[in-house]
């Protein structure tokens, strides 16, 4: 697809998403906002997956972002998004940098297991230290405002906030993937020794990916905290990380838009699965995941590009 065509379709998608609240009912708008916010976390997973690294602990940054918002709102009475969101990104990115230094030595299944262990450490800390994290009850997030203004319809404000930040995250992701370090990540997946022979550093690329991945996942978590209005330790549980990897493969790793397509598809499938088979919605999701793996292992995104490529 040519560059202009990509730009035009991005603008078209943004316009469609921007006018959606005029036509659709509130719950669908909420679901899309939730899906876009979680899509940022999935993009974080995808950035690492391009280097063949499975982050089975992405919920760590997701929870850090969400709890940053939770703490500020709950302990300091700060519901201001323009304070909390940048802080969530910075804290997540700093922690991602520190943990990235450790994780950059690991590949394959050990990367997955170590990131899983790190996220479970956060989970146990959140559960056990009741005074500081609210234990399993979690924290409620109240008093949302943007630039000091509290709206009568906060969910609509939040929707547009999510939409703008999603666009920003997509831009950052696309710029990173098009940068030399971004291309280097693809090379990490295939052959690391050759990278070193070329004079580049694989661990440098992994560290950079990890910091960006952590930062945008923290942002996604912070947005989800505002949307849902509550944070709990389950955000950091390993099943939550599993869902993000699920959505990453569902969407595909071929494009920065794929995580958001996958995330919207996932939220709607989950929503309808819960509605039509309340006792077997996990089963439905599992079967769907198996279908994706066997039939469309490159994800839904390649389905789109393939359909578009056919007429020619």
């Amino acid at each position: 697809m040519s560059r202009t065509a990509t730009r035009l379709s991005v603008i078209a998608a943004l316009v469609v998403l921007a006018v959606l609240p005029l036509f659709l009912s509130d719950w669908i708008v909420f679901l899309i906002a939730l899906a876009l916010a979680k899509g940022a976390v999935v993009l974080g997973v995808v950035l690492l997956l391009r280097g063949g690294l499975i982050s089975f602990g992405q919920a760590l940054y997701f929870a850090i972002g969400a709890y940053t918002v939770g703490f500020l709102a709950n302990k300091f009475g700060v519901g201001e998004a323009l304070v909390a969101l940048p802080l969530a990104v910075v804290i997540s990115a700093v922690i991602a940098a520190a943990l990235g230094l450790l994780l950059a030595r690991f590949r394959g299944i050990y990367f997955a297991m170590l990131s899983l262990a790190l996220s479970m450490i956060l989970y146990t800390v959140l559960i056990k230290f009741y005074d500081f994290s609210g234990g399993t009850d979690g924290l409620s997030v109240r008093g949302f405002s943007v630039a000091g203004v509290t709206s009568a319809n906060p969910s609509l404000v939040q929707y547009y906030l999510v939409l703008m930040l999603t666009a920003a995250v997509v831009y950052v992701g696309a710029r990173f993937l098009a940068s030399p370090l971004g291309y280097l990540m693809q090379a990490v997946r295939y052959n690391e020794i050759r990278i070193e022979y070329l004079g580049a550093s694989a661990s440098h690329a992994i560290l950079a990916s990890h910091v960006i991945s952590g930062g945008i996942s923290g942002l996604g978590g912070a947005l989800v905290a505002y949307l849902v209005g509550h944070v709990s330790p389950d955000l950091a549980f390993w099943v939550s990380s599993g869902d993000f990897v699920f959505v990453a493969v569902l969407g595909g790793t071929g494009s920065v838009f794929a995580p958001f397509v996958g995330s919207i598809a996932f939220e709607f499938i989950k929503n309808y699965a819960v509605k039509f088979s309340p006792h077997t919605w996990q089963l439905t999701l599992g079967v769907f995941l198996l279908l994706v793996i066997y039939v469309q292992p490159q994800g839904l995104w390649t389905l789109l590009t393939r359909l578009r490529a056919k007429p020619r």
Partner: protein
């Protein structure tokens, strides 16, 4: 009060339980190169089937020796039915694919099995603690301990010995070793590799179910019991080195003792200690204690 015997005995019985749960994961990974996320669900199915058999056949107070063969039977049934079914239908298609695909296939299986368990057994807890009461209490170093966990220790040692014998002293074991080292050459030598895969997964499933079935008398069997077990088992096999059964055994003892120390001295951080240990060991030895360093290809 002297804490040392409590910590040692608590640690060793917990380590035995951990070994029963995690030996299957590391064995399956060794042969098939798939980290089985659904292992916890197989453990839960073993527990449910064991509890059901006890409630059906062990009489009112459940305190008879028949309960132990029943628990073993539950594990064998799960190993012989669900194990081969999963391997044939689901896993066979993803051998040799990216690691993320293997991981996600078993994650999908985990989601499916969690609901299947709920559909079959409902959401009410099952209580089959007869065997636990049957073993009564044992006095050691002047302290009374529940007797049943010592059964787990004996079974764990037996399972470890049997696995060692099977792998090192039988034809099946030699074929497995051959497949682990090189699937292609193993096939060229006339080893039926798909059959070895099937048997290895069935054996791993049996071990998961055995762990679950033997745990059933110690707790109320209820939905979600496999979800937290799986990450504990990951921690153990990560510490020991994936694919190494001896490593898993050592990992269990380290984790068991560390947790017992934490439970007695700093009860807030009992779970934290386990994951922190895993991180510490992996930072020190990225392949785990007994893992094999993978050679990098040029």
């Amino acid at each position: 009060m002297n804490l040392l015997p409590i910590i040692l005995i608590d640690g060793i019985t917990f380590a035995s339980w951990l070994f029963l749960v995690s030996a299957g994961i590391t064995f399956i990974f060794g042969v098939l190169r798939i980290l089985n996320v659904a292992h916890g669900s197989l453990y839960a199915i073993g527990a449910y089937l064991g509890a059901t058999l006890i409630l059906q056949f062990a009489g009112q107070n459940q305190q008879s020796w028949i309960t132990l063969p029943l628990l073993l039977l539950a594990a064998i049934v799960v190993g012989l039915t669900i194990g081969p079914l999963i391997e044939r239908l689901l896993l066979r298609r993803v051998y040799g694919e990216d690691e993320v695909i293997g991981l996600l296939t078993t994650f999908a299986l985990f989601l499916i099995l969690e609901d299947v368990v709920r559909l079959i057994w409902g959401v009410d807890p099952y209580l089959a603690e007869g065997p636990y009461r049957m073993f009564g209490r044992v006095r050691l170093a002047g302290i009374a301990f529940a007797g049943y966990p010592f059964l787990l220790t004996i079974v764990a040692i037996l399972v470890g010995l049997l696995l060692w014998i099977v792998i090192h002293r039988t034809s099946f074991g030699r074929q497995v070793t051959c497949v682990i080292n090189d699937r292609e050459i193993a096939g060229a030598l006339g080893i039926n590799v798909p059959r070895i895969d099937l048997m290895a997964f069935a054996l791993g499933t049996f071990l998961a179910a055995l762990g679950g079935a033997l745990t059933a008398p110690m707790m109320s069997v209820e939905p979600g019991m496999g979800v937290s077990v799986i990450v504990l088992a990951f921690a153990v096999v990560g510490i020991g080195g994936l694919g190494s059964i001896g490593g898993a055994a050592l990992g269990c003892i380290i984790v068991g003792i560390a947790r017992a120390v934490a439970v007695q001295l700093f009860p807030e951080i009992d779970l934290f200690v386990i994951y922190a240990l895993m991180v510490a060991v992996l930072l020190w030895r990225p392949q785990g204690l007994f893992g094999v360093v993978e050679l990098r290809k040029i």
